[in-house]
C-alpha cells in the first residue's frame, strides 16, 4: 500500500447550470488514487452531472476540477489529461452498434495512437477474458444480452488503460438476472485497485467495495463519510430517509 495518498480527482466548489436549473451547487470532493467512491441520491439530485463533469461531458460553470494535476479548462492539455486518465461506463452501454465487439474495444486505442493494431487486439482479448466473454469478440453488440453488452462497455473503457473509472448507473438498464454478472466484474475491478467513482443504487455492492459514500440531494453533497459510518449512522435526516427507502426490508 502507498503510504502517501495521491489525490487524483480534486473538485472545488463546482457548480453547473442547465438554463436556470442548478444541477450542481458548489460541490467539493477529493478522490485518492485507488479509492472507491459510491455516489447515491434521489433522481435529479445531480449524481450523474457530478461524474459527467469529471470527464467534461458536461462543462462546469464555476469552481475547479483537477485531474491528476491538470486543471480542466477546455484546453487541449486538459482534454489529453481526461483521455489518458478517465474511462466511463454508461447506463445505456453506448456501444458502437455497427462495429464488432473487438472493433469496439480497439478503435480508441488505435486511433489515439496509443497502441498498434495487434497490440490493441491482444489487450482487448485480455480484457474480454477478464469480463468473461472472449468468445463474443467477433459478434455485434445487438447479438449480445444486456449484461454482456455492459461488460463489453467496461472492457472497452479498460482498453484505454485509465487510472479512474466512472460508472453512471451501470446496472439500471439491465434485467434483474443480469445485474450480478456486471457487479461481479466491477467488484473484481475494485479489488484490483482501480480508482472508481460509481453512481449506483446497488447498496450491497456499495457496502462491499466502497471506501467512501456520497449522498447528494438538490445538486449538493448532503453527506460524505466512510462506508461503515454511512450505513450505520448517517447524520442527515434526508440521507436516513433515502436509505430506508432503498435498502431491502
Amino acid at each position: 500500500m502507498q503510504q502517501q495518498a495521491q489525490q487524483i480527482i480534486q473538485m472545488r466548489e463546482v457548480s453547473k447550470f442547465f438554463g436556470s436549473f442548478q444541477a450542481l451547487n458548489s460541490v467539493s470532493i477529493d478522490v485518492q488514487l485507488g479509492e472507491r467512491v459510491v455516489v447515491c441520491g434521489p433522481s435529479g439530485s445531480g449524481k450523474s452531472t457530478l461524474i459527467r463533469c469529471i470527464n467534461q461531458l458536461e462543462i462546469h460553470d464555476s469552481g475547479s476540477i483537477v485531474i491528476d494535476g491538470t486543471t480542466l479548462d477546455g484546453s487541449k492539455q486538459s482534454l489529453r489529461a481526461i483521455h489518458a486518465n478517465v474511462g466511463m461506463v454508461f447506463q445505456q452501454f453506448n456501444l458502437f452498434p455497427h462495429l464488432t465487439v473487438l472493433e469496439n474495444l480497439t478503435l480508441g486505442p488505435v486511433r489515439s495512437g496509443q497502441q498498434s493494431k495487434s497490440q490493441a487486439q491482444e489487450l482487448a482479448m485480455n480484457y474480454l477474458e477478464r469480463v468473461r466473454i472472449p468468445e463474443q469478440a467477433n459478434k455485434y453488440p445487438a447479438q449480445l444480452s444486456g449484461g454482456q453488452q455492459q461488460r463489453v462497455a467496461i472492457a472497452r473503457s479498460l482498453c484505454m488503460e485509465p487510472k479512474i473509472m466512472l460508472f453512471d448507473e451501470p446496472t439500471s438498464a439491465l434485467d434483474p438476472e443480469m445485474i450480478n454478472e456486471v457487479l461481479d466484474v466491477m467488484v473484481e475491478l475494485a479489488e484490483s485497485g482501480m480508482t472508481m467513482v460509481c453512481v449506483t443504487h446497488e447498496m450491497g455492492f456499495a457496502r462491499r467495495v466502497a471506501d467512501k459514500m456520497v449522498f447528494m440531494d438538490f445538486g449538493a453533497i448532503v453527506e460524505m463519510s466512510d462506508t461503515a459510518k454511512f450505513f450505520e449512522a448517517p447524520e442527515s435526516e434526508r440521507c436516513q430517509e433515502f436509505l430506508q427507502q432503498i435498502l431491502p426490508h
Binding site: N55, L57, H83, V86, G87, M88, F90, Q92, N94, L95, F96, P97, H98, L99, L107, G108, P109, R111, S112, Q114, Y140, P141, A142, Q143, A153, R156, S157, C159, M160
Partner: protein, 247 residues
C-alpha cells in the same frame, strides 16, 4: 419489374404492327432501325457519366454543408441555412442555363457543356443532400458521441468511424432517391447541347419525325436505367444490414 417493362415493350411493338405506329424507325431487324436504335442508346454513356459525377460531387458538397448546420456556432449554422435556402430556391433548368451561359462571363472562364451540366446538377442537388445528411446525423443517439469522447476519438474520427457509417445506413434509401432524381434531371442538360439520352432522341425526332416511337424508346431507356439503380440500392441496403444487426 424488369420483366414487366420488357412485356410492355413487346406489347407496344405488337400494337405498333397495326394502326398508326411506325416502329420501323427503331426496328432492330432492319439496318436503318438498328442504326437509329444505336444512336439513341449511345446517349446512355453521358447520361450515366453526368449523373454519377454530379451525385458524387453533390454528396461530398452536401456533407460539407450539413456539418456546419450541426454546429453549436450560430454563424456556421447560419451559413448552412442560407446555402440550403438559396440553392434550393433555384429551378434546375435555370441553374443549368445560368452555369453554362452566365457563370463563364462572371468568372471570365470557358466551360464545357459536360462540366456545366455536372456543376449545375451537383449544386442543385447538394442542398437536398445537405438536408438528408443533417437529418441522418441528427438521428444518431447522443450517447454515441459521448462514448467516442470517452475512448479519446477526436471530431474527425468520431464522424468518420462512428457517426457517418451509422447515419449513411439510415439515409441510404434517401440517397438512392436522389440518384434516381439525378438521372431524370440529367435530361434537362440536353437544352445546352449535352449529347445524352434526351438530346439524342430530340435529334432523331427532327430527322425522322416519329416522336411517338422515339420518345417511347427514350421513356423505356430511363425506366430500365432507374430500375437497375433501384435494385442496386436495395442490394446495398441488404448488404449493410447483414453487417449491422443493430435494432
Amino acid at each position: 419489374m424488369l420483366r414487366a417493362s420488357l412485356l410492355l415493350l413487346v406489347l407496344l411493338v405488337l400494337t405498333g404492327c397495326s394502326g398508326d405506329w411506325g416502329w420501323y424507325v427503331v426496328d432492330p431487324t432492319t439496318k436503318k432501325g438498328m442504326t437509329n436504335l444505336r444512336f439513341l442508346i449511345s446517349g446512355l454513356y453521358y447520361t450515366v457519366l453526368l449523373s454519377v459525377t454530379a451525385i458524387v460531387i453533390s454528396i461530398v458538397l452536401g456533407l460539407l454543408v450539413a456539418l456546419p448546420g450541426l454546429s453549436k456556432n450560430r454563424f456556421l449554422r447560419g451559413f448552412n441555412r442560407v446555402y440550403v435556402e438559396l440553392v434550393r430556391a433555384v429551378p434546375i433548368l435555370v441553374m443549368i442555363l445560368w452555369v453554362y451561359y452566365g457563370m463563364p462571363q462572371l468568372l471570365n472562364i470557358t466551360i464545357t457543356v459536360f462540366w456545366a451540366g455536372v456543376i449545375a446538377l451537383a449544386l442543385s442537388d447538394s442542398a437536398f443532400e445537405a438536408e438528408i445528411f443533417r437529418a441522418g446525423i441528427q438521428s444518431i443517439d447522443k450517447g454515441q458521441y459521448e462514448a467516442s469522447h470517452t475512448v479519446a476519438l477526436n471530431y474527425v474520427d468520431t464522424m468518420r468511424f462512428i457517426i457517418l457509417p451509422q447515419a449513411i445506413r439510415r439515409i441510404l434509401p434517401a440517397l438512392g432517391n436522389q440518384l434516381v432524381y439525378m438521372l431524370k434531371m440529367s435530361s434537362l442538360v440536353s437544352v445546352i447541347g449535352m449529347q445524352e439520352l434526351t438530346r439524342k432522341a430530340n435529334e432523331l425526332v427532327v430527322t425522322e419525325y416519329r416522336p411517338l416511337e422515339i420518345y417511347t424508346v427514350l421513356l423505356l431507356e430511363y425506366l430500365v436505367l432507374i430500375l437497375i439503380v433501384s435494385a442496386g440500392v436495395r442490394w446495398l441496403e441488404r448488404r449493410l444490414q447483414t453487417t449491422d444487426r443493430s435494432t
